[in-house]
């Protein structure tokens, strides 16, 4: 680095180095996520190519900056990956671990570079050797080499690199100052507009002002887009964290993310990065039980951890959901009392919700002991504080023993939204325009309001919505000088498939609003999404339509609304809506089945499955269940089974992996013929085959199934069984057919449903009460046409006779 000593080029070099560091940090974060994903699916060529391009880019730029250690590391990783690309080498866990090792070392080096501007001295040979240390693919399993020339790869990579150059890096503070500037311009414009209107100036001045207004609106649109980033970026490091942590702790975790295409303001993203990582770590460390405890709790060994992002209106929700042990409110209280966060008296007064929220108290750590993983001094209190800083909230959805969902809700952006200004209780409130479906005057002909059971319903052109009065939600008196003719109903859509109506004293107008997060005590009410300063210069609260819905505890789902779902229905019903379990079938197809028919997901060793009588069955514990499979799976590994339950019998359906639980889409493309697949639905843009549980269950006839769940089985009493034939030969047959059998001697308090007389003389088979009787005869031929006896080895006739007697008895 002679140039650095000469003075002038120093800044240019520094800029290049900073760019390199920023870019490399980004590439590395994405690459480790991609590597873990690729490990799960080594056939994914696109992903491999992407990883290869990443290290290739790092190699190229580091060579230019003369950073020999980084170049050597990137080169080694590139070599190894290239061998896989050409089919000379198999992708295995060892290789992925080795490449991850390179990624880690590169991150360390970059961190050191950022501090000292000089690549530190050191030896990377161990890491580079680890790359070479994995075995070669046997020739037979080598993929067919691509017909393209090897050199073509390089060309293709470079063309993609050029794409990356079409964007520039801008320092975040600069972007922020542009944003603040635009915000101030908008506020100044609003004030100016107000003054113009008041002064009653010439129309040409107003027209010029409107043109200015339009370009300002367009500009702020572009600026907000500049600040938006796909949430993918936030998710990129998570797979790696989950993989490493799960390995350290000896847990099996299936990690999935969804909603990566949701966009979020950069600044928001910075603020939730650490909280999100902390929550994910917590989930694996504390939430997900060790393997043996999971088995004992009847859960699959593999835990499911899902991070999903979704946008509803102006809000972004990020949910981290695990199927671990959940939070125990009592344990939390005990711990809080032990660590003197609350007194015993205070603790007794806590509601269940407040007990859970103890985890947000500073100094609270849920782990029985601080572990190396989560106990790093970052607590849920920091998570909450970070969220509140950006006007967000943290919600806990706890199911003790079954899992915990932590939901981070935050405004999509600190920028400008279009808002509807309404009046209630003598002041103004804003409703995000994006959430408003329709506005109607209360006294309009198409609106009918009914008071039912303390709640109110509004019917608009045949569609019914729960109606909330804004004054009632906010617990305020109605304002003075309000005109009943002005009252309006605003139908809002808080989320997909939900809607309800808010009744307000009057509608004011639409305005472009600069939304700022409100202070934590205001956000904590759950009713507001932020504050804003409209043209009037008086602060206005922005209503959180989702929070209002939650506070009022109404069922706002659109489903079956026409059947007359009333307000005040428990919120749980929202959750009971048809849900779809997405899974990968054993033939690797993406399929879905209604969650409600699944009793549980079970993981059993392959040895638990066996073939008998041409059907595959599974032994689980003490019971045997039919399995929907043509033949035994060809694997020694554990088999995942969906246990379907129709209320009577159980059928096991082997699958490859559970992917997610989603809401069952309304649009189903039905299959042409009845069969395993009832139809196809689109979930997140992917076609999913919907399993027909009726067809499945129909095929495993519950009447003859071994798995028939004990229910009210008819009781057969055997009489006159002197030689034990009944007990030895007949009883097993009857039991298999679903009857209970009692000998004549058994002291049964219960009256039998049918009596089987085995003696030649019916007089021997007397029983109290009126019980239908079937007489069995030992001879094949009947005594005559009047003979109602049944030959004792005629299985079919016997079962039919039993059935006939029983149905007659019931009628």
């Amino acid at each position: 680095m002679v140039a650095a000593g000469l003075g002038a080029p120093v800044t240019a070099m520094d800029d290049l180095l900073n760019d390199f560091l920023a870019e490399t940090a980004e590439i590395l974060a994405e690459a480790s996520g991609a590597l873990v994903a690729w490990e799960g699916d080594p056939a994914d060529r696109e992903r491999l190519d992407a990883i290869f391009r990443s290290v290739h880019t790092i190699k190229g730029s580091s060579g230019f900056l003369s950073l020999p250690r980084i170049t050597a590391l990137a080169h080694a990783a590139e070599d190894a990956l290239d061998q896989v690309r050409r089919g000379h080498r198999a992708a295995d866990a060892a290789l992925v671990t080795a490449v991850l090792g390179v990624v880690d070392r590169l991150q360390e080096l970059c961190a050191a570079l950022g501090k000292s501007d000089v690549e530190p001295q050191g030896d990377d040979s161990a890491i580079i050797d680890a790359l070479a240390g994995t075995g070669e693919t046997p020739a037979s399993t080598r993929p067919v080499p691509s017909d393209r020339e090897p050199d073509r790869f390089e060309e293709e990579d470079l063309s993609l690199d050029l794409q990356a150059w079409r964007s520039i890096r801008v320092p975040l503070p600069l972007l922020d100052s542009v944003m603040t500037g635009v915000t101030d311009i908008v506020l100044a414009r609003n004030e100016f507009g107000r003054m113009l209107r008041a002064s009653g100036v010439d129309a040409s001045v107003v027209a010029a002002f409107d043109r200015l207004s339009d370009s300002i609106a367009a500009m702020r649109q572009s600026v907000s887009q500049m600040r938006m980033q796909r949430i993918d970026k936030l998710f990129a490091p998570l797979p790696r964290i989950v993989r490493d942590l799960a390995q350290d702790l000896g847990k099996k975790v299936q990690f999935t993310t969804s909603g990566g295409e949701v966009e979020l303001d950069r600044e928001m993203m910075e603020n939730i990065r650490d909280p999100l990582i902390h929550i994910v770590r917590n989930a694996i460390d504390h939430g997900i039980e060790p393997l043996d405890q999971r088995v004992a709790a009847g859960k699959g060994v593999t835990a499911h951890l899902t991070v999903l992002a979704r946008q509803s209106g102006n809000q972004i929700e990020i949910e981290v959901r695990d199927d671990g042990r959940g939070l125990s409110p009592d344990a939390l209280v005990a711990k809080a009392v032990a660590s003197r966060l609350v007194s015993a008296a205070e603790a007794r007064a806590l509601t269940p919700k407040q007990k859970l929220e103890l985890i947000f108290r500073p100094g609270f750590s849920t782990a029985a002991k601080v572990t190396s993983v989560s106990g790093r001094g970052v607590g849920m209190d920091i998570v909450k504080a970070n969220l509140e800083k950006i006007g967000g909230i943290v919600e806990l959805r706890n199911e003790e023993g079954r899992g915990l969902s932590i939901v981070l809700r935050m405004p999509m952006t600190l920028t400008i939204i279009s808002g509807l200004m309404v009046r209630a209780a003598g002041q103004y409130f804003a409703i995000p325009r994006g959430a408003v479906r329709e506005i109607l005057l209360e006294n309009s002909d198409s609106v009918r309001i009914d008071r039912v059971g303390g709640g109110e319903l509004v019917t608009v052109r045949g569609e019914q919505f729960p109606l909330l009065r804004l004054e009632a939600i906010l617990d305020c008196e109605a304002g003075e000088d309000e005109d009943a003719d002005e009252r309006a109903v605003v139908i809002v859509r808080p989320g997909q498939g939900q809607s309800y109506a808010i009744s307000v004293a009057a509608i004011h107008d639409h305005e472009e609003l600069v939304i700022k997060p409100a202070a934590p005590p205001i956000m904590a009410t759950g009713l507001y999404a932020g504050t804003t300063l409209p043209d009037s210069g008086q602060p206005v609260l922005l209503l959180d339509v989702q929070g209002v819905m939650a506070a009022a505890a109404i069922d706002a789902s659109d489903v079956e609304r026409s059947e007359g779902d009333g307000p005040g229905a428990p919120e749980d019903e929202v959750r009971e809506m048809a849900q779809l379990l997405l899974f990968r079938d054993t033939d690797q197809r993406l399929r879905g089945i209604r969650l409600s028919v699944i009793e549980r997901v079970e993981e059993v060793p392959a040895a638990a499955l066996f073939e008998s009588g041409g059907a595959v069955r599974a032994q689980i514990g003490e019971r045997i269940f039919p399995v929907h499979a043509a033949r035994l799976p060809e694997t020694d590994a554990a088999v995942k089974l969906l246990r379907l339950y129709d209320g009577r019998s159980i059928l096991c359906y082997p699958i490859d992996a559970v992917i997610d639980i989603v809401r069952l889409p309304d649009a189903i493309q039905p299959a042409a013929t009845p069969g395993l697949i009832a139809g196809v639905v689109l979930v997140g843009g992917d076609p999913v085959e919907l399993i027909d549980p009726f067809w499945l269950m129909e095929r495993c006839d519950p009447a003859t199934s071994i798995a028939a769940v004990p229910q009210r089985q008819p009781l057969c009493s055997l009489a006159g069984d002197e030689d034990g034939w009944g007990n030895n030969f007949l009883a097993p047959l009857l039991r298999q057919a679903g009857y209970r059998v009692a000998g004549a001697d058994d002291a049964h308090a219960e009256r039998p449903d049918v009596l089987l007389c085995l003696a030649d003389d019916p007089a021997q088979c007397r029983i109290d009460g009126d019980v239908p009787m079937i007489r069995l005869r030992a001879s094949l031929a009947a005594a005559g046409p009047e003979d109602e006896t049944v030959y004792r080895y005629d299985r079919q006739a016997l079962l039919e006779a039993l059935h006939a007697r029983l149905t007659k008895g019931a009628a």
């Binding site: 007064a349 504080a385 002041q427 305020c476 700022k516 205001i522 009410t525 504050t531 602060p539």
Partner: protein, 145 residues
């Protein structure tokens, strides 16, 4: 040295010396906008240029009944955790350097004051409670439970 610069004021019927570090400015308040459903110590919102400030009534924070806001009343603007707050003041006396040392609070205070006051300081022949304005803004324990 900003460390011994204090704002001497009367808040919640008590003369206090507020540490000046977190204090942004002292302004007068117009008519605040109510925040329905918010905790009682939130006295409303008001606009200061392009910012929206949350008005805090220290009376409620220390456990006294709320006091209505008078137009033109002076408020102390404080930034805590990225949010702007304004503390309602009964009276603003002075901004001054106090060289006397902060001492441990000897007597027994009302529980509300005991929570927010850090020390006492001697100023012009009177003992003043030393309060960090941020302490008046964090959610009072009594309301948290």
């Amino acid at each position: 040295m900003m460390d011994n610069l204090y704002l001497v004021a009367r808040i919640a019927d008590t003369r206090v010396a507020l540490r000046s570090r977190a204090i942004n400015s002292v302004v007068t308040v117009g008519t605040p906008v109510r925040v329905p459903a918010a905790p009682p110590y939130v006295a409303g919102l008001f606009a200061l240029r392009s910012r929206v400030l949350t008005l805090i009534d220290p009376h409620v924070v220390v456990g006294l009944p709320p006091v209505p806001v008078v137009e033109g009343q002076r408020v102390i603007v404080v930034d805590v955790a990225g949010h702007g707050y304004a503390l309602l003041a009964d009276e603003i006396e002075d901004v001054c350097f106090i060289d006397a040392p902060e001492r441990r609070i000897a007597g027994k205070l009302l529980p509300g004051w005991a929570r927010v006051a850090d020390a006492v300081i001697e100023h012009r022949g009177a003992s003043l409670l030393v309060v960090d304005p941020a302490e008046l803004i964090v959610q009072p324990v009594a309301h948290a439970a």
